[in-house]
């Protein structure tokens, strides 16, 4: 009985090996195509199909309920579950981050007389035998590129950025683990997210320190095999719904210690004793997204949950941004596209002075400028995502994309309200929500001002080389 189970899972591994190989060759093929044909704006067939699914989900399932969620500020659990089922969430999780089914069968192994299985894996041939614990990973995430994830994010944001932020915060929380987690951490914490629609959160900002990450005060003291954490975090997206957090703390209390050595990143289970979750904050926009303050009082974290090692936290926290800023820019672009579409539709219906208002040059010029901004924001985030997928450092492009997209999302949403006129100010029409939702794009994930600091630094750095 056990043998047939192992055989089946062995076959599962073999099939997954095929799919890994095909997926890898598909990615390689896309990369080769890009480098042979030079710069290209084409999407692959698969990317177009992904975009189609995300678009269909967004238009048919998010848009009808977005206004209701905005009014009730309720967490959109059914939408998140549906997105998880369709594979639209957790796109970045690598394919081999499933969980070992044999953890549960450890006990039975010693009953079996010896047998040997040879399994082909990505890394070559592995031989497992009955006297060694057999580990066969269950298929994990999709391992999509940042570009693919951005395409999906833009479509979801078109529907509602509140829903999209709740989903996107998962990517932000996971990114440190995906980039810097060891195998055990990845399998445990990322595996959970692929098995059930669980959420995670990125806990860095504090009431006293937002842009100045090096100024955070939450401290972690090592005691034996554990760290004791005390402090307060604020504005944590998914704070009240997360199953686990990525937490940044200061482990070296010496004020002279440089930032690159003073901080440590942890993975913390949300149900650890001592974690107090604050009330849901009522924000200007993206109301259905859950934002809270979180207090840590003598929270004990095992040393196994340290990412990389003590003192490596700052680098981890910052490194995640290069991969998460392009999707945030994509979200802002999705919102801007929605504002543009709503305004265009209205401008072709509303009549004044005997003509549809789109015929008046004052209005058509506003629409033209909105269009320019949306197209350019799209190109910016696509370039930033493409750069990081090519394996290059994309800080310059990611910051440009996020800064630009955040700014134009606000401008385009405001213009959309203007085009709607008096109706635009009213909550029965869709554009006032867009204006309220857009503001946060100039604030979170690095404020517009911080982005400018980064861009100036990168730009001047290039010139001085």
């Amino acid at each position: 009985m056990l043998f047939s189970k192992i055989l089946k899972s062995g076959v599962g591994t073999a099939l997954r090996f095929q799919s890994n190989a095909v997926a890898a060759s598909a990615r390689a093929a896309t990369a080769v195509k890009g480098s042979h044909g030079g710069f290209s704006f084409d999407l692959t067939d698969q990317q177009k199909e992904f975009q189609e699914v995300a678009r269909k989900f967004s238009r048919e399932e998010i848009i009808p309920v977005a206004q209701d969620y905005d009014k009730s500020a309720e967490y959109p659990v059914p939408l998140i579950r549906r997105a998880w089922e369709l594979g639209l969430m957790n796109a970045h999780i690598p394919e081999d981050c499933g969980r070992s089914i044999f953890n549960r069968m450890k006990i039975k192994l010693h009953h079996i007389c010896s047998f040997v299985i040879i399994i082909m894996t990505q890394n070559g041939v592995c031989v497992y035998s009955s006297w060694k614990q057999i580990s066969v990973p269950v298929p994990g995430g999709l391992g999509l590129s940042i570009f693919d994830a951005c395409l999906i994010t833009e479509e979801l944001a078109y529907g509602c950025t509140g829903v999209q932020t709740a989903i996107e915060a998962n990517s932000l929380g996971q990114m440190p683990v995906i980039l810097c987690g060891n195998d055990a951490q990845k399998k445990k914490y990322l595996g959970r997210l692929t098995e059930e629609p669980l959420m995670c959160a990125y806990c860095v900002t504090e009431p006293g320190a937002g842009s100045d990450v090096a100024g955070i005060k939450t401290r972690a003291e090592k005691k034996g095999d554990e760290y004791i954490v005390n402090g307060q975090k604020m504005w944590i997206t998914n704070g009240g719904k997360a199953n686990w957090y990525f937490l940044l703390t200061r482990t070296n209390p010496d004020p002279k210690c440089p930032a690159s050595k003073a901080f440590t990143g942890f993975i913390v289970d949300a149900n650890t004793p001592g974690i107090q979750i604050g009330r849901k904050e009522m924000n200007m926009g993206q109301k259905c997204s859950d934002t809270r303050g979180i207090t840590f009082e003598d929270v004990r974290i095992p040393k196994e949950n340290v990412l990389i090692g003590e003192g490596a936290g700052f680098k981890i926290a910052m490194g995640a941004f290069d991969r998460t800023r392009p999707p945030v820019a994509a979200g802002a672009t999705g919102l801007a596209q929605r504002a543009l579409d709503e305004a265009t539709k209205y401008a072709l219906e509303r009549k004044t002075f005997g003509r549809v208002i789109a015929d008046h040059q004052a209005v058509s010029f506003i629409l033209a400028e909105m269009t320019m901004k949306v197209e350019l924001a799209r190109m910016a985030y696509q370039r930033a995502a493409w750069e990081v997928d090519q394996g290059r450092r994309n800080t310059y492009y990611a910051s440009i994309a996020k800064a630009f997209a955040g700014d134009i999302a606000n401008q385009v949403a405001s213009d959309a309200v203007q085009i709607f006129g008096g109706n635009g100010f009213n909550s029965e029409y869709p554009v006032e929500k867009l204006l309220r939702d857009a503001k946060i794009y100039q604030i979170y994930e690095g404020t517009a001002q911080i982005q400018r600091l980064i861009i100036a630094r990168e730009h001047l750095g290039k010139y001085q080389q």
Binding site: Q18, D45, E49, F50, V53, F57, G87
Partner: protein, 254 residues
């Protein structure tokens, strides 16, 4: 059950697109226009995949006739759960004149070749609204047919079909092999999930030509002209019933 299901899928202009007639009135504009799978074909694929999930059939084969682009439509069927695809290449003049007669001959030949015991098609395509392919295929194969199906149940080697007809609902029992055409209320087609789209890339699509199946593609129908429907004329408001009756008499309607 060793049953194999053949599902025909057609690539048509997307239902949401505004159709425009070509300036030379020979047809509608298709270049650069968004195409997708015929909605009734989606329902047919969904039904076939559900039968496979219930383990009542073993394999679902998606078939489409047309030029290179129909492979996208077959891929969508694969992403929904079909096991493999068959692309019958028809292009150029043959594709322009492709109609239910040719498609039903192709499907009949394929059904024999693949030893299918069930063919599920959409009841009609949203571009030509012919509602003929299913019926013709059944006739060519001399198989029983259950058209406008709103419910399909396999009972042993018989198929029970509930049909939506003008008078209401009709339930019939057919001996397999059968042809069934799907109507709107048969089911709600699923989304292709992202993992399924990625898995679909591994599934095989076989290529063949109508000649390989011994099918004659000549059309018995010639399209003379395509026009837009006449613009709706403005109506006239009347004050009373007497006015209405007299106006109708004037127009020669009563």
């Amino acid at each position: 059950m060793t049953a194999r299901v053949l599902v025909g899928v057609k690539r048509v202009i997307d239902y949401a697109v505004k159709i425009r007639v070509k300036p030379d009135n020979t047809g509608v504009v298709t270049d650069g226009v968004k195409h997708s799978m015929n909605p009734f074909c989606e329902i047919a694929v969904e039904e076939a995949v559900r039968l496979k999930e219930k383990k009542l059939v073993q394999e679902v084969v998606a078939v489409s006739c047309g030029p290179q682009q129909v492979q996208e439509t077959i891929r969508t069927a694969l992403a929904m759960g079909a096991d493999r695809g068959i692309h019958v290449e028809v292009s150029g003049k043959d594709y322009d004149s492709l109609g239910p007669l040719q498609v039903s001959k192709i499907l009949a030949a394929l059904a024999k070749k693949e030893e299918a015991s069930l063919i599920i098609l959409g009841k009609q395509a949203i571009d030509d609204d012919c509602n003929q392919t299913g019926q013709m295929t059944a006739a060519l194969l001399d198989w029983p047919q259950g058209t406008f199906a709103s419910e399909l149940v396999i009972e042993g080697d018989k198929v029970k079909v509930v049909r939506e007809i003008d008078g209401g609902l009709e339930t019939i029992k057919l001996n397999m092999p059968v042809v069934v055409t799907a109507d709107l209320r048969l089911n709600t087609p699923r989304y292709a999930t992202l993992p399924n789209i990625m898995k679909a890339k591994k599934k095989k699509i076989a290529n063949m030509k109508p000649g390989d199946l011994g099918v004659d593609m000549t059309s018995r129908v010639e399209v003379l002209r395509v026009d837009e429907p006449p613009q709706r004329q403005a109506g006239v408001k009347v004050e009373s019933v007497e006015d209405l009756v007299s106006k109708l008499k004037e127009a020669g309607r009563i």
